[in-house]
Symmetry: C2
Subunit: 141 residues, 2 copies
């Protein structure tokens, strides 16, 4: 697959490394050149320094040919704009946004954007973990 | 359950709200008083302004009586120290740390601390989502 990732922070860089390692063609975009230092030495894709909310930058990333765009920034507004552009202007087949603030989940949904919310996943994992352990351990309850 | 949460950022505040809403007794600790603004109006627990790496602050939170301590900061070293203290000094029955940087996962495990890693959960969700959609959509592959 040809995958465009927006944002090379903790999330973007980890995903880029993993997808590159799995043999996919990856292009990763970030405003800060320094951000690409987070990529591993094994990353075999391309990096683009620029603002992904600008169409010219998405063109540079050959967005028209992308099978998939993942917007991984910690700015929900940027993720929302980039994913809408990819999905509705360029017709990228698979578009997913990372949700940063839980309050934005419903906004992404209203705009028809598929999301993954790390904080919700973690919340569910914490609650599940606590539920599973409501056994003999918690005699103090 | 009587639950102590360390860190009132995005993760800590959301979890505190939810656990309070579920009827648990929650005490949440943060160094910054302003951080507690992130809690909802419905939060019925207590807040403590202080550094949870200091034993006096954990005592203030009545750590000895806690069924559970969740350390939710975005500083792995602080989460590690607080969870070790809770587990091995105060014998809190259930102790879980949030992992911020993936590279810290193995360190928490070596110290016998149970963890939840939002970034790993999200990574798995992204990869699963992409795998599930390797069907007819991706003819360009």
């Amino acid at each position: 697959m040809y995958i465009v990732i927006v944002g090379c922070g903790r999330y973007g860089s980890l995903l880029a490394d993993r997808l590159s390692c799995l043999g996919h063609s990856v292009v990763i975009i970030d405003r800060q050149k320094n951000a690409f230092k987070a990529l591993s030495a094994e990353f075999s894709g391309f990096t683009i320094t620029g603002d992904a909310s600008e169409l010219s930058v998405l063109h540079m990333a050959k967005i028209d040919a992308a099978d998939c765009l993942l917007s991984m920034c910690n700015e929900d507004t940027l993720n929302l704009m980039v994913t809408q552009t990819a999905k509705f202007i360029f017709g990228v087949p698979k578009v997913i946004a990372r949700v940063y603030k839980p309050s934005y989940e419903s906004i992404f949904r209203k705009f028809g954007i598929e999301i993954i919310s790390p904080i919700q996943l973690a919340l569910e994992a914490f609650l599940q973990d606590l539920d599973l352990d409501r056994g003999p351990e918690n005699e103090a309850q």
